[in-house]
Amino acid sequence: MSGFARPALCVFPAGVHLRLFAVPLLLAFALAAFAAEPQRPFPSRSGSDFTSADIRALQADDFANPGMLWITRGEKLWQEPAGDSRLSCASCHGDAKSSMRGVATRYPLIDPATARLINLEGRILQCRERRQQATALTYESDDLLALTALVAMQSRGMPVGVTIDWQNRRNFEAGRAMYSRRVGQMNLACAHCHEANWGKRVGAEIISQGHGNAYPLYRLEWQTLGSLQRRFRSCLSGVRAEMLPYGAPDYHDLELYLAWRANGLPVETPGVRR
């Protein structure tokens, strides 16, 4: 045996050596910088992609979709005068089909009057309180879900499109921090499932990317329509963490981060999930 072949690197002049090391080093720096930037899952896939064919068919059928019962209710409520003002939603906004088109894709947004982040439910509650001067609706009540779903459905098929600017940057960062903060006895963050392990199975379920583009949606487990905040609460309960009350500002921040993450995905309200 003539012995080992000499390593090829040794025949190059010293300069090449350096360059060979420098390239991966620069790449590592570049990756580190990239990791610090907020990331979206790639490719972005809606939650319906992770459900079974029969559930997708149920969502696609505008009659069989159980969420449509709330839409029917919402259409009635839209026309009904409420509160001391005796104004209905339609008194100011007219036909929801045209006036509410595309509205849901921009929420949550900064409310100019209070300079705070507000979600779609919050806007409906605010309108009801200030303009209609009616009794407040509670979160997850059939009426609030019906109105939210009706408004959100007018954007069906349109891409989610929130912009992050100087006004909502702090909320966005807070939501993003919440997304990757470990919580609860299971010590898990949202990102552990929905960022690092989407597409894999947990029990019988396939983990989705955790987008909010189909809310309020009908979950077969709940046997009713539910808001995105209800989903947050059931995730928090799942990792055995403390559930914040409905309408908590932290949830709004998280909603904003999720909306940014889902940018470009079509609105599917009312969605159907297991």
Binding site: F63, P66, M68, L69, W70, T72, D142, Q223, T224
Partner: protein
Amino acid sequence: MNVRVQLPRTAKHGEVIEVRIAIQHPMETGFRYDQMGKPISKNVINSLVCRYNGVEIFRAEMGSGISANPFLQFYTMADASGALEFFWGDDAGDQGSERALITVAG
């Protein structure tokens, strides 16, 4: 009670038509307990009847095995213009009804 009914507005005489009805209802099974540990009493839509111009064409008797917001679909033959009327009632004594019109040509 919130309800949705779907059937074709017009049909030819003798045509088989699809009738669909969805009712918003919790369909409480009676097996659940509230947060204080008290049993929640059973409350399901126990019967639903559909009459076509007064003639009963469909009847369903439902129990605790039917999911919330029941969705029923059946077929019938369009033989005359008129109304399909639905009547149903639940264990709590709430009654509901809905009617849908159909025009039969030929």
